[in-house]
């Protein structure tokens, strides 16, 4: 999404969405997660396009409602439409630097960039978010939510979660 050429109205919508947080990861804005794929304004109507991280993500309906409310609250548009599509599918490289920092702050290791994740090695090398050691073990590619994997740090002896790569 190219926000540099945004009109004033598109910019205002984007700023409102920067306040909408992922319900499962407090402190991570949906704009930094990279799931807002298009903002269009036509006359007095606003269209916001979202895309899910995983197709079965149960938080999506809640996020749609939160986006609708945030844009309606601007009181600039007669009509606000929020739509989820796969036109511009999400991958973990869409997470911004700010988003990666928010993941780490939440105790989740950010995903490696441009990863070929069918190789188990990528997940095995996941650094610990607490002590930064790479001496870790993958416990399972599935975790508490669809986007997380489970690991154990052999250095600081703590279980931790990673945000797993999706390309």
């Amino acid at each position: 999404m190219d926000i540099k050429n945004y009109t004033k109205e598109q910019q205002l919508i984007f700023e409102a969405l920067e306040e909408v947080m992922d319900p499962e990861i407090p402190g991570l804005a949906i704009t930094d997660l990279g799931i807002v794929t298009k903002i269009t304004v036509l006359d007095a109507e606003a269209y916001i396009q979202l895309t899910p991280t995983f197709s079965g993500c149960p938080a999506l309906r809640i996020i749609e409602e939160m986006v609708l409310k945030a844009v309606q609250d601007l009181q600039l548009f007669d009509k606000v439409v929020v739509k989820t599509t796969f036109d511009d599918p999400w991958n973990t490289d869409k997470i911004s630097e700010k988003g990666r920092a928010a993941l780490l702050k939440h105790g989740l290791t950010p995903p490696p960039k441009n990863a070929d994740y069918l190789e188990l090695d990528v997940l095995s090398d996941t650094p610990c978010p607490f002590c930064n050691s790479k001496n870790t073990t993958l416990k399972s590619p599935f975790g508490a939510t669809l986007c997380r994997s489970m690991h154990y740090c052999n250095n600081c002896l703590q279980a931790f979660e990673g945000f797993k790569p999706l390309t």
């Binding site: 197709s55 079965g56 599935f142 975790g143 999706l166």
Partner: protein
Amino acid sequence: MNIEQKQLDALKNLLYKMADDQLILGHRNSEWTGFGPVLEEDIAFSSMAQDKIGQAYQLYSILNELGESEPDTVAFTRNAQQFHCCEYVTMPIGEYDFSLVRHFFFDNAELLRIDSLINTTFDPLSLLARKFKGELKYHVLHANTWIKQLANGNAESKKRIQDTINASFGLALGIFEPSDDENSLIDTGFFIGEKALQSKWLAIITPFLNSCDLSLPNIDDTKPVYGGRKGNFSQYLQPMLTEMTEVYAIDPSAEW
């Protein structure tokens, strides 16, 4: 896009086959929630259930745009004869070896099916296929990791995996039951066809199993379990559907 009626019907049939496979196997996987042999496996099967039911929802949504009923109506109001999944996914979860081998056979097949659809000329499906591929790679990674681990475990774990492979191979071949109408999809570049998929699948799983010192039974001596794609199931699907739709059936008009 201008699709002829015959192709449209064949396309819908393909989408139903895929969506029903995902919904039914997703539901079966969810039966492991709280019962996995170790906590990580409990979570893995539950997560894969969530992925699969989410993928089924997206496929039913495409069908809805092609004129079929709403996803919830399609999922919760049909009886067994109206489903298009393969017999294999309807089977009860059994013991962990049965569920694990099914997961291995099915998800390797599904990843290849999805991969082949990335270049389909039907755009909505192509977009979904790109998305599903990333998710299914984790399912295959998980299945292959555990098959390998148990093949290299002890004599009992290896024997149980090999025995289950032998007993399940005919069911797994049923995934690729051809449909009468699929030629119209093959001719127009929508889909490569079940026969071609089965060949690709064998070419992937045979060397993998051999590398784990496991083997497939002789395919010429194995009778594929067909029927599911045409709505002919054994005794397992209807009781599962009755349980799955129990709450919905109390008040189908309820707002959630």
